[in-house]
Symmetry: C2
Amino acid sequence: MFRLIRKEGSARRGEFVTVHGTVQTPVFMNVGTSATVKGGISALDLRTVGCQVELSNTYHLHLRPGDELIRQLGGLHKFMNWDRPILTDSGGFQVFSLASLRKITEEGVRFASHIDGRRIFMGPEESMRIQSNLGSTIAMAFDECVANPSPYDYVKESSERTIRWLVRCRAELDRLNSLEGTVNPHQMLFGINQGGTYPDLRIDNMQRIAELGLEGYAIGGLAVGEETQVMYDLIETVEPYMPADRPRYLMGVGTPLNIIEGVARGVDFFDCVMPSRNARHGNLFTWHGKMNIGNERFAEDPRPIDEGCGCPACRNHSRAYIRHLLKAEEMLGMRLAVLHNLYFYNELTAKIREALDAGKFTEFYDKYTRILGERVDD
Amino acid sequence: MFRLIRKEGSARRGEFVTVHGTVQTPVFMNVGTSATVKGGISALDLRTVGCQVELSNTYHLHLRPGDELIRQLGGLHKFMNWDRPILTDSGGFQVFSLASLRKITEEGVRFASHIDGRRIFMGPEESMRIQSNLGSTIAMAFDECVANPSPYDYVKESSERTIRWLVRCRAELDRLNSLEGTVNPHQMLFGINQGGTYPDLRIDNMQRIAELGLEGYAIGGLAVGEETQVMYDLIETVEPYMPADRPRYLMGVGTPLNIIEGVARGVDFFDCVMPSRNARHGNLFTWHGKMNIGNERFAEDPRPIDEGCGCPACRNHSRAYIRHLLKAEEMLGMRLAVLHNLYFYNELTAKIREALDAGKFTEFYDKYTRILGERVDD
């Protein structure tokens, strides 16, 4: 259940009640693809860095260790020892970006596993069954994510099929939720808006999936090749057609700047591998802008990454030490960098919420869209 | 200052007072070669797993990030945020095992860095200067570690030179400790017994270095190729000549069994990369014996690695989850496995100390030398 607490322009401050606890929005979900965030991050660490929602992946967990195994062990929450909300991606994006030898039919997709080449079939029903076995809080609809740009006719056809798949997802999840012994019988379904970069297809798609009365709506198929401004424009195009009483989730986005811009356009949920992926290459986010800790100028720097930051890396270690660890390819370097970046992203959305609560989001927007894109050179 | 609290046979329960706190012996030192234990382990984690002494490496830290840099940042304790004792290996072993194009003279060793091939010279004075820059609690003498077996004449010649080097180490460290601005002016020096597998050379060497009145004595050049029984016999050969009022350190040893056998022969200090190296391959130590968590039989096992264990891995995660993480090559798998193994080793020496305190080491020895070598198949 979503409750809209306050608005400032299009920006929304809300609360999303789930069976695993209430999520304060806007929220950034922390991506733990294979039931852990890359960089040696445990569920306990996620608590430390202020994570509200963990995001895992249907495709990856189906391949390894297998969703039947996770179900047998009591579901994904128990498996990874995380009791707050989990959102599971449907596997659609991964089937279209990682797997090879893909063949799409009305039924679903046949493809080869990127791990061992094994032939696998996944359609709306299979994705729902896997997600039901995982028992996540929120299941995502199984969709086709087309590259940007793609030909109009193909996007139209794909978008139509994705809507038919969505109807099948809803039916299958309803059935699964009603079965005895389902891990999480309160599992919710978010639909996904597609339509490439074509405003008319996006709007048509959104209008039609809005009618299905789902628990939340995502904008998918963005940040996959198009210009950033195109993405912002498309959010503005679709937003008026998204139900106001449901959370909106911009999938796979993005930089701190993208998140602030997304919130300004009415988005409530975000997720991205950026904080962990960038961290592993020494690219860190701070309240003064971005820094690459590998830079020579930090070699003898006794200060924390970000003086005001309360993360475990900043509270205990210097730039010089973390830089050394990354240069020496020591895992601890990556772990500390990832902890810092996740903390930053979670704090970013916390500060956005504070600003919204105080009616000062415009001020926040003006200040931080200016600062956060800069490079820290001190 | 070493205080012998109690003896049971040759086994010793003692206390070693240092400027960074008192070490309860027997003790297992946790190896953090490059100022971190491999597997994403921080100084805070070392506290959690009950580490008393951290061990870092002169050779590695000299090459990267450089001991001058660490000195500038206040020494190794400050650099890695660890305030308890640190022992630094002298670099001797690494120069002889990792570096290439080695040339040994009376002065020291010229060699090529294993990182970038840079030509480097290290002799007793250089090793002491580096360790003084690091400011460790205990510096190890710079020695030559010969492979086992090596020809008698070579071992004799090498052992003689190592003694001459030791005298130079003592003089140089005394000088460094007396300088103003030395990171740790109370830095102690442990001498290292060498002599290959030749009892007469071992005894001669030990008698002569004992006369130097150093703060502790190590047995080096074991567990480098010889049979385990040969190692045990050589410890028994040398032990009577080691000063009873100084701690004895068996370098680079070993399995839990080796440690119990070492304690039974009068050894106080141990170190080994085994707990972290084995962990990374899924080889775990438990109070019921060894297990490889990669084994299929653990795939659906909801139990912790070791039911009675209080480590962060066992308190929070199942065998099935940790196995999954290692199979998926997720860093968290290695981190949890390393945390478990380090905790086990630290608890092993804690239990040895308890047994000695209670006058029950023989009982402990009989029970655990039987169990700990076995395989856990449940």
